[in-house]
């Protein structure tokens, strides 16, 4: 009886669970990047954490640049 009750409860709530897990972002809704390998990188001028302006063009002919974009500070992503 308990098992039957558990199963019926599970079935009753299953649609709610699936809608919650599926709603934030489906795999095919993840936006595609507009730039691709081989494209020229748009120049930028951004302020560093020491309030110094860093320009991409300053590294032209000198260094490769690796940019790790995270959404906000204090986040792992």
């Amino acid at each position: 009886m308990k098992r039957l009750l558990a199963c019926s409860l599970l079935l009753a709530f299953a649609p709610a669970f699936t809608s919650v897990t599926a709603s934030p972002q489906k795999k095919d809704e993840i936006p595609k990047l507009t730039l691709k390998v081989g494209d020229p990188a748009p120049d930028f001028a951004l302020l560093s954490d020491e309030w110094k302006t860093v320009k991409l063009s300053d590294f032209r002919g000198k260094k490769n640049v690796l940019l790790a974009v995270c959404i906000l500070a204090f986040t792992g992503g």
């Binding site: 972002q25 993840i30 936006p31 990047l33 507009t34 730039l35 691709k36 390998v37 081989g38 494209d39 020229p40 990188a41 748009p42 120049d43 930028f44 951004l46 302020l47 560093s48 954490d49 020491e50 309030w51 110094k52 860093v54 991409l56 063009s57 590294f59 032209r60 002919g61 000198k62 260094k63 490769n64 640049v65 690796l66 940019l67 790790a68 974009v69 995270c70 959404i71 906000l72 500070a73 204090f74 792992g76 992503g77």
Partner: protein
């Protein structure tokens, strides 16, 4: 690799980035794109609809740009949380450039 400059980029202010850098003892500068100009020019800024409102949010992304200003690696989304692919692209670039 001394011929690769590494930067973090976020939508937060330089002050928030400085506090974050101090907290996790980060060894490279964190850049601030508060007006989201760079993020939108790189196609990393996306609109998200939630509850009838639209929010602009950055994708997690790793980008490698070579000395000629050409994109050599770009990945966005969940796979970009792991920096190893981008790091190996930098290593390959370094090898190719020093072999010239």
């Amino acid at each position: 690799m001394s011929d690769t400059a590494v930067f973090g980029v976020s939508m937060d202010s330089p002050a928030a980035n400085a506090a974050f850098a101090k907290q996790i003892n980060i060894k490279f500068p964190l850049l601030s794109d508060m007006n989201r100009k760079m993020l939108s020019s790189y196609g990393i800024l996306k609109n998200y609809e939630k509850g009838g409102d639209t929010y602009q949010w950055a994708l997690r992304a790793n980008i490698v740009i070579d000395k000629d200003g050409i994109i050599r690696h770009i990945e966005g989304g969940d796979s970009a949380v792991d920096p190893n692919t981008a790091a190996s692209v930098c290593l390959d670039l370094h090898k190719k450039q020093t072999a010239k």
